[in-house]
């Protein structure tokens, strides 16, 4: 290396780019700490003059965030459970064989992955209405959102299963294991990390689910946090420090989990089907 300082220059530039890109997040936290009058200061202050976190408990209580976040948690857990249970087996079979039928199955799944939610929501709403599922709106949202997230899960987990050496499974079969036994005791444990990463991604995605919940769930006591947030959003909203405090409470857990698991998530994604 003739120019040893170049990597450090690149690092500095990378930090600047990241700071620039992550500015909206910073702005969310800063705004939530500002007082009502400081928000409308012109020019805006880039650091709160008198940071005031008291808005957090106020928003938490006033917007009944405990209920909203509980519902988000319920919906996201349900979506993740259904996606993992149905999706893992499907991904395993699609990874194990190579035939025309596997191609057909994958093509079907890819096609279902591309359906926009706004295409699906009208027929789902009418269909759920006909079979009476609208009386259980949260469960209806879980079913709809699971169908939305499963294709992506299957494609990613399939790539994980592809990287499990087939010889190990065949050895287990030769040793007298049944297919079920080999699947649960050999293949699943080896693919565990990949499945876990994809499950976390599914959970994060459905924690922010909005369109199905907004259209299907009418009772405010059953709505998730995204719908609760939309209640005080709009072109004419002005209660910005409350909105940002609400957003901060909503996304901080997701961000924390993501930053903690960032390396695993990124490597899980890059090693897989995204190639």
């Amino acid at each position: 290396m003739t120019r040893p300082y170049v990597p450090w220059l690149l690092l500095a530039l990378a930090l600047v780019l990241a700071a620039f890109y992550l500015f909206p997040l910073y702005w969310m936290y800063v705004t939530s700490l500002k007082t009502g009058s400081e928000i409308f200061a012109n020019p805006p202050t880039f650091w709160p003059l008198a940071p005031d976190p008291s808005i957090y408990p106020a928003v938490w209580a006033r917007r009944t965030m405990a209920t909203f976040l509980g519902n988000s948690l319920f919906i996201a857990s349900g979506v993740t459970a259904i996606t993992v249970i149905f999706g893992t087996g499907c991904a395993y079979v699609l990874a194990r064989y190579r035939s025309v039928w596997v191609d057909v199955g994958l093509f079907l799944i890819l096609m279902l992955q591309v359906l926009p939610a706004s295409v699906m929501i009208t027929p789902l709403f009418v269909g759920f209405n006909q079979i009476g599922l609208l009386n259980f709106p949260r469960e209806a949202v879980i079913l709809a959102a699971a169908a939305k997230s499963m294709p992506f899960f299957v494609v990613l987990v399939r790539a994980t299963f592809m990287s499990v050496p087939r010889e190990l499974e065949e050895a287990a079969l030769v040793d007298g294991n049944s297919r079920i036994g080999a699947f649960f005791s050999i293949v699943l444990p080896l693919a565990r990390n990949g499945i876990l990463v994809c499950a976390i991604l599914t959970f994060m995605g459905s924690f922010g689910e909005y369109i199905y919940s907004k259209s299907i769930i009418q009772d405010p006591g059953l709505q998730p946090a995204s719908v609760g947030l939309s209640g005080f959003l709009g072109p004419n909203s002005s209660d910005w420090n409350s909105i940002m405090a609400y957003s901060a409470i909503y996304v901080t857990p997701i961000l924390a989990v993501f930053v903690l698991l960032q390396r695993r998530i990124v490597s899980g994604l890059t090693s897989g089907a995204l190639k």
Partner: protein
């Protein structure tokens, strides 16, 4: 009978159950609604016939009615602006960042990973944050742009008909940029290093190396990224209710949001279904490109 159960435990029946359960679930909750949607676009549907399956046949009258809506061409134009501007922004900035983070320097992959937080954030929260950044009088973007001298007056991003769709485009580029960067990084990493070394020995400059090695080697990745970008942009919904609600005067309404408004705000389910079928044709086109560009992956 025991052979049947043996097959479930030990043979092809085991595989069929695993794949069949998932496919049945998907067909029931995604395939069936899709067919139903197409069916509904040819029927007369209103609040009173919502609960019945057999309704008066409408032929193409729903399609004619949608095209005759005064806002139809405006929405079409907005959809095209939204899709192509978002894709362009995400792809070009994403590619630039991917190339930058492919350089060797300490912390490159960790910092690149931080960019992905935008991807896991709920769309509605991203919309809320950008709605505040883009606010006319007190938004920080206007302040920054004025400080660097790019604009003189105040730009009312959300309420000026000339800018409202761009307000959503800006937020959407931020939201999708990181995912584009990640996919393109994967493609870049797959190019053998020695190709570059050989080209460098032959005296090719950085631009020539990019043009003759990087771009051709990444053709399939770029195809996949662009078609996924098209699909993802058409799927975008959450930003609209959070930033502009399609306003002012529909100047920021796109097909997906319009379809939802028809069904769930005007309760015109037939028109809502019709718009979404039209949109689905566009998605179908993108998917064909996507499947073609990932064919080597599908065949595995």
């Amino acid at each position: 009978m025991s052979r049947f159960f043996n097959s479930l435990r030990d043979g092809v029946g085991f595989d069929l159950i695993l794949v069949g359960a998932a496919l049945l679930f998907l067909l029931a909750l995604a395939g069936l609604p899709l067919v139903y949607n197409v069916l509904m676009s040819f029927q007369q549907v209103d609040m009173f016939t919502l609960g019945t399956l057999i309704r008066p046949w409408a032929g193409f009258s729903n399609y004619v009615a949608v095209v005759q809506q005064p806002e139809f061409w405006l929405v079409t134009k907005n959809t095209l602006i939204f899709v192509f501007a978002s894709m362009g922004g995400q792809f070009i900035l994403g590619f630039a960042l991917a190339i930058f983070f492919a350089q060797k320097f300490p912390g490159a992959s960790t910092i690149r990973g931080l960019f992905l937080v935008s991807w896991v954030m709920p769309g509605l929260v991203v919309g809320a944050i950008w709605s505040w950044i883009l606010a006319g009088d007190f938004g920080v973007l206007n302040t920054v742009l004025k400080a660097v001298g790019l604009i003189d007056g105040t730009v009312f991003w959300k309420s000026d008909p000339a800018f409202s769709i761009w307000a959503v485009v800006i937020a959407n580029i931020w939201l999708g940029l990181a995912f584009n960067m990640l996919l393109l990084s994967v493609g870049l990493a797959a190019i053998p290093r020695d190709l570059y070394e050989a080209a460098e020995l032959d005296g090719a400059n950085a631009f020539q190396r990019f043009w003759t090695i990087t771009l051709p080697m990444m053709r399939s990745t770029i195809g996949a990224v662009l078609s996924l970008g098209l699909i993802g942009t058409l799927q975008q919904f959450d930003l609209f209710p959070a930033i502009t609600e399609g306003g002012p005067a529909n100047t920021s309404t796109v097909a997906g949001y319009w379809s939802w408004q028809m069904s769930f705000q005007l309760y015109d389910f037939a028109k809502g279904a019709t718009i979404s079928v039209m949109m689905f044709l566009l998605v179908l086109f993108a998917s064909i490109i996507y499947v073609r560009s990932t064919r080597h992956e599908v065949r595995g």
